[in-house]
Symmetry: C2
Subunit: 205 residues, 2 copies
């Protein structure tokens, strides 16, 4: 699938001139991200994306393939800030990894610009099995492999997922369900309590 | 609202005979639970619930009020197993509370019968602000108050929510998104790693 979602467009039906194709592709991707964010996976159609981008549906299929593949390409871009999480793990000493990762993830959620697409992905993945499968593939291919490489422990993936569970749960209760007092407490108070837990999952006994 | 969602039906338009009303009320509630589970909050209508229960829409309004109130009554029943969580905290010694609560919550999610309605609640709350508000009220009134009473610490509610965040995140990644290896690992392996975290949040320094 990397030939479809990667930097160059698919070439099933000939190849548009390079400059035009880059602009059109980006416009479709941007429209797709907005449509998926606003409507969720199920209610979004390739036709609607094409209309929002001002192109023909056939062109969307040409560049990306199926709706599932458009979704995958769109969330790969929307998810990009979150995909920098492994950098927080890879760079710096291992005993500060809990705080770096916690700060990074909550930082992405604190920022409304990066929160909106994340929220859309979570909503789609919770509601639709195809969207969940895309999300799973992305986590496995982009996050777990790099985290495991740094931790170098046989149970590194499970450790990473339990650490992620603490952070995902915090994000759900603070930013999505908005349970008080968690929703209003200063983010530093959360980091102080959660960072040691994340550290423990990743490097503890 | 407790007069509407409580054990006895609302009495705005007269009062049906006791035995008939109990049967009808339960039938509506059961239909509501199924409709909300299958379609989520947004796509469910009072009309659809009435049809599934074989009654007139007016009767649904009579017993429960608005769609939001039907939802609140339905999830209060569907959420009942989860509402026993405070018992795991209230009963037994405080230094075993992490394991009891973890076992309890994962137990509810491991069981397909209790998992289905929970999943429906999570989906609705993630997708719809009204459903999220109902969920929030339920958590505040049913869970946090009892947990705070047992912990008797000034930050008891925040502690309870961070513990809940670890468990909610585990449930999301294991049962909803189904990320491997977390989705397939033996539940005891999760309890062994997560119970100390939950204990730490609740009673740690």
């Amino acid at each position: 699938m990397s030939d479809v979602t990667g930097g160059t467009p698919g070439r099933r039906r000939g190849r548009p001139p390079r400059t035009e194709s880059a602009g059109t592709r980006d416009r479709i991707l941007s429209a797709a991200r907005e449509e998926f964010s606003e409507r969720g996976y199920e209610k979004t159609s390739v036709r609607g994306i094409a209309k929002a981008a001002g192109v023909d549906s056939a062109l969307v299929h040409h560049y990306f393939g199926t709706k599932e593949q458009v979704f995958e390409a769109a969330i790969e871009v929307a998810f990009a800030p979150a995909l920098n999480a492994p950098a927080a793990i890879e760079e710096g000493p291992l005993d500060g990894v809990g705080e770096r990762l916690t700060r990074f993830v909550l930082g992405v959620w604190e920022n409304p610009t990066t929160r909106a697409p994340l929220l859309a992905i979570v909503r789609s993945a919770v509601n639709n099995e195809t969207a969940a499968a895309v999300f799973r593939r992305l986590i496995a291919s982009q996050l777990l492999r790099r985290i495991s490489a740094r931790l170098d422990l046989p149970d590194a993936e499970l450790r990473a997922e339990l650490a992620a569970a603490q952070l995902v749960g915090c994000a759900m209760l603070r930013y999505v369900i908005k349970v008080e007092p968690l929703a209003s407490v200063d983010v530093e108070a959360i980091i102080a309590r959660v960072a040691p837990v994340v550290q423990g999952h990743l490097t503890g006994p």
